[in-house]
């Protein structure tokens, strides 16, 4: 099979995925191919961009996002007038193409809960029928949350060590074994250096 036809096939698979197909082995192969091909990766990003625009999921940094806390890089950046609107892409794009560092700082206030969130159920009331959106029916679900600030290497090693240990304790206690992938998807980091 020629490289062009392979590329066409991958594009078709990615396009189908953007149309709402759940992950499949085809998609998995396509994502893998896209991560190695600049042109395919660019197309994948454009597909996500278009999808995000259609969903209204794209934001600009012209005004501070409600979730941006003060005193953080993101908050300070968001508070400044932006010279031009800067697109914030959905993290699925980043997830596919990302090869950058392991740990990322997010903002506490980014996750401050909203009262009456549709993704909670009342402790006493019967559960609503439509609560959290699910993959098979959820074009309104934004993929993966990403707001990042780089940590220094020492802190990153410390965080990785703690995450590994958290995973190990989980498994040992038999209460919750989080996938090893959660902590070892990126290169693991050795024990902290003595400072």
């Amino acid at each position: 099979m020629s490289q062009a036809s392979t590329s066409d096939g991958v594009q078709e698979t990615l396009s189908a995925a953007m149309d709402g197909e759940a992950m499949s082995d085809e998609l998995h192969g396509a994502l893998d191919a896209a991560s190695r091909d600049d042109e395919l990766r660019a197309k994948w990003e454009r597909m996500h961009l278009a999808s995000a625009v259609m969903r209204g999921a794209l934001t600009t940094s012209g005004s501070p996002p409600a979730s941006a806390p003060l005193g953080t890089k993101r908050g300070r950046r968001a508070a400044k007038p932006s010279r031009r609107p800067r697109l914030r892409l959905g993290p699925a794009v980043a997830a596919v193409v990302a090869v950058l560092a392991a740990l990322t700082v997010v903002l506490v206030a980014d996750l401050v809960q909203e009262e009456g969130s549709p993704n909670l159920v009342a402790a006493t009331a019967p559960a609503p029928t439509a609560s959290m959106p699910a993959a098979a029916e959820s074009t309104d679900v934004q993929p993966l949350l990403q707001e990042v600030v780089e940590l220094g290497p020492i802190d990153r090693r410390r965080m990785n060590a703690y995450m590994l240990q958290h995973a190990r304790y989980n498994a040992a206690a038999g209460t919750a074994g989080i996938p090893l992938a959660r902590v070892l998807g990126d290169p693991p980091t050795a024990e902290l250096e003595e400072e």
Partner: protein, 327 residues
């Protein structure tokens, strides 16, 4: 023979669940937990948080002993092999995986969580949400929705035949997916051989996980003033841990979600307070006064919202007089 009986029971249970609706969602969660340890399977799964990673997982039970093999399909060549309680990793000589070998969790490695079902309904609404198709197999979908803002929600798709987890999603309170785990191909049953679970990589170095230290552990002298309702301390130890320093650790679980608390003497350089998240795992650090009023670094790590991790961390305090108590 045992395998056949096990398979028959699984099939019968699945049929009951689907046809009669008699099985409760909690039954499926329990079956899922058992399936990871008792079923034979060989599949490729992807894990997506900030990045997409692919792994092959093989699990085979031989004479009651679990053989498990996790193969990294992306990046550096790595395999993690588990036979019973013995865990070893195979990687290039300079791979950092060798340095953290003693920190590798035990398997099963494809398990997203191991539910503690008692009291689960107080904090989560668990519902069956019909049938779907995942990785070419018929799947039962469950929605696990939190009843408050201090925990995340899950969507899980379980194989109708084996109850293995085919796909899981973890959502934050706004419905945003924080991580996705999914098999893209899966073989189960007698087709899976012990050879499939044996290492195949050549030219690499093998490290073995040292046996866990035995003997009583000192109870932690650090306590939590507040944890979300339903979380109970499942483990606590006064020292030891991921580094050569002395670290006090506490592990809490609500039956689905967990978080760990680590406390150690504050290093000379540390970014605290700080909040970090990777996929569904939040981490918050802060400084607190410990023995002799020396500064200590308190770190909360877990699959809870970052604001919850911060609130927990703010309540961690030094209380040696309470050591050994439940919280």
């Amino acid at each position: 023979m045992m395998r056949r009986v096990r398979g028959w029971l699984a099939a019968a249970s699945a049929a009951l669940a689907v046809s009669g609706g008699a099985a409760m969602p909690e039954d499926w969660l329990q079956r899922m937990d058992q399936a990871f340890r008792t079923a034979d399977y060989d599949g490729v799964f992807s894990y997506l948080d900030r990045e997409l990673s692919a792994f092959r997982i093989v699990h085979k039970v031989v004479d009651g002993v679990e053989h498990e093999r996790l193969v990294y399909l992306d990046g550096a060549r790595r395999e993690i092999i588990r036979v019973g309680d013995d865990v070893s990793c195979i990687a290039e000589a300079g791979d950092e995986l060798h340095a953290v070998i003693d920190q590798l969790p035990d398997g099963p490695y494809a398990r997203a969580f191991s539910p503690r079902l008692q009291g689960l309904g107080e904090h989560y609404d668990v519902r069956l949400k019909g049938q779907y198709r995942v990785a070419g197999r018929t799947a039962i979908r469950l929605a696990i929705t939190p009843r408050d803002e201090n925990r995340y929600g899950y969507r899980v798709w379980l194989d109708q035949d084996t109850a293995l987890l085919l796909r899981s999603e973890l959502h934050d309170q706004a419905g945003r997916r924080l991580e996705v785990f999914q098999f893209t191909s899966l073989r189960t049953g007698d087709d899976v051989t012990v050879a499939d679970a044996s290492p195949s990589a050549t030219g690499l170095v093998t490290s073995r996980v040292p046996p866990a230290a035995s003997g009583p552990l000192a109870p932690p002298a650090w306590r939590a003033r507040w944890v979300p309702s339903g979380f109970r301390m499942t483990d606590g130890r006064g020292r030891g841990g991921a580094t050569s320093r002395q670290v006090s650790t506490l592990l809490f679980s609500d039956g689905i979600a967990t978080f760990s608390v680590f406390v150690e003497a504050a290093p000379a350089r540390a970014s605290a307070p700080a909040t970090t998240r990777r996929g569904a795992t939040s981490l918050h650090t802060r400084l607190a006064r410990g023995p002799e009023r020396r500064s200590h670094l308190v770190t909360v790590v877990g699959e809870v919202p970052a604001a919850t991790a911060q609130r927990i961390a703010e309540g961690i305090h030094y209380a040696p007089e309470d050591a050994g108590k439940d919280k």
